[in-house]
Structures are given as C-alpha cells and as structure tokens.
Amino acid sequence: MQNIFKLIFIYSLIIFFILFFLELVKEGFVSNHFDLNIVLIIILISGLWTAYFVKL
C-alpha cells in the first residue's frame, strides 16, 4: 500500500511539473480546462501518507 502511495506521489509530482510548464508556455492550456490545485491536493495527500508510513 505504501508503495502505491509513493508511486501516486511521484507520478502526480511529474504530471504537476509537466502541466505547470505547459501552462507557462501557453497560458490557458491547462487552466482553461483543468484546475491544477487538484493535482496539488493529490501530491499533498499521497506525500503525507508516504512520509507517515516510511520505514525508519
């Protein structure tokens, strides 16, 4: 389960940076159709979950 959340965290971070870059290149490409905050919330939740279950 921890590994799945780790993967979600990594891939949502990747998609966030890709979409952020595309929005910078063409204003409105993402924000006209999709709220990037949704990805940020996924990053936050999956990141917290991964950090909580990390083996010390």
Binding site: L7, I15, V25, G28, N32, H33
Partner: protein
Amino acid sequence: MRQIRIIFIIIIIGILIWLFILDFVPGEKLEINYNFCERESMITELSPGNRLWPIKKINNNCSQDIAASPVYFDTRAPQYFDSAKVEIKYKNLNNQEFKLGPQIIKDEWMWQLQDVIEIDKVGEWQIGKAEFSLNNIYQNSNVMRWLISAPTIEENKTIIAISKIKIIFYKQPVNFSNFLEQIKSYLRKTVR
C-alpha cells in the same frame, strides 16, 4: 508494480491528449459562458470596478449593473476563429444606446462595435445578440479584449444590468485538407 507504473504513464499521456484536444478545438465552435455567479477561466469579470456596481445575487440569478461606460472583459481564445456570436441577458429599461465588440488591434483604441439587438424577453430580462466577423481582429494573443459601450447611461443617470454573457466562437472544423494549416496557426499562437 510495473503494471501500475504503466497505468500511471497511460493516465499522464491521456490527460495531455485530453488537454490538447480541448485547447486545439477540433470542432467548429467554442462556447464560453459567464453567469456572474461563478468565475470562469476563459472569461474575466467586467472591469474597471469604479464604473460598475457589485455583483448582486437574487434567487440564484446573479447580475451586475453598469453605471458608466465603457466597461471591458477579456476572453481567452486558444485558437484562431472566423466569427463570434454573443448572446447577452440584460436589462436596459430606458432603451439606452448599448453596443459591444472586440478590440481590433491590441493596445489600440479600435473596436468593432455592434448594437446589441433584442431577440427575446424573459420576464423583465432582455436577451440580445450581436454577431462579429473576426477576420480583421488581432488574434495572435491568447487574450481577446471586449468592450461594452453605453455612452448615455451616465449622463441620463441610469444603469444597464447584465446577467449572462455567452460567446460562441466559430471556425472551420478540422478535416484532412485544413489539418496542417490549423496546426500551424495553433502553434503560431502558442509561440507568440
């Protein structure tokens, strides 16, 4: 685990393709609606604020009164379009002169203004429309500026209330013969 990775990659590619299709507008029209209750990403609120009353919400119907002219709003048009049809729900009880239109050249005081023609009435609200050819309109920027003109309202101490703005942009749908041309114009708009 590898299968899950593949699923994530497919999701990422799917999101990118979906966004590209929405932004490229392969069909013949793009519709933008603004009802004054919720912000829309493709159309801004009216401005400047000192010529407008705050947005009112009565029975889930939001509206804004224009106290002085002109006022502006911007639309984000991701593609090049040939024409536009604007439908506007408004209240112009004193029959003041009422026009709107897009800016012809960016940062220049040149507008393609058209009279808003009343086509219907819903209660005390009027439905008006105006049609524009966009062939001479500057479209190299993502942002298209629009002006609403009602030059006599301030002098006559009256207002025009607006409750809904619907803009439909039209272009040729993508087909085999114009696919490359539309891709080129889309990229040209992206690069600028």
